[in-house]
């Protein structure tokens, strides 16, 4: 009836990169997990902050005027409206926390890097 959500188990269910999957909801927010590898695209989220929590591995978030390097057990909140580009030299497992409906490519035109929203594991 009450069941723990295991991130490891959820990660075992997919292998795509930069395609966030919903593992839990809290009010009108979603917890998504994703595998990051290589370069994502520059984008921003004009209406919301976006939280990155690193589960395993390392990644970097580039900004137009700097960057932040993150490893397992670290987190960062990208402020709304700030252009950023995630990058991981090798596979990195992350959790994203953001409002329901937040699109992974943000303010950019939808394209091949745009992941479908609301895909639940």
């Amino acid at each position: 009836m009450y069941e723990a959500i295991s991130l490891e188990q959820k990660f075992s269910l997919f292998s795509e990169r930069f395609q966030p999957k919903v593992v839990a909801r809290m009010n009108d927010y979603e917890f998504k997990i994703a595998r990051a590898e290589g370069d994502f695209i520059w984008h921003s989220h004009p209406d919301t902050d976006e939280t990155f929590l690193i589960i395993d591995g390392e990644m970097r978030i580039d900004f137009r005027d700097g960057s932040v390097s993150l490893k397992a057990g670290e987190m960062f909140v990208v402020p709304r409206g700030v252009e950023h580009k995630p990058f991981a030299a090798s596979e990195c497992r992350i959790m994203l926390i953001e409002p329901v409906g937040t699109v992974n490519t943000g303010d950019q035109p939808r394209g091949e890097r745009t992941a479908p929203n609301g895909v639940e594991l």
Copy 2:
């Protein structure tokens, strides 16, 4: 300028049990870390869900009609209004995600178990 938030480093800054500390904000939500050990009190949050993410150790959340056991890498969202009682046999490090202003003792009269809100690390 852009700095990673290290949960391990933040945990090194306090030792109290069941006294959540704010490590990050996202929109009108807070990320809090806490050390759980022993029994907390029965309470509910009438206006919000509350997310538990286990960073290290194990804990249990009791409900009036069941319970959920959680260990590192697992999470659970307690729905709004649902009475619950956290318990950890030995120290467990957790992250809580919830709206700014959420009180740890929820709907219960404020007392010695009520932690001050908005304490930042």
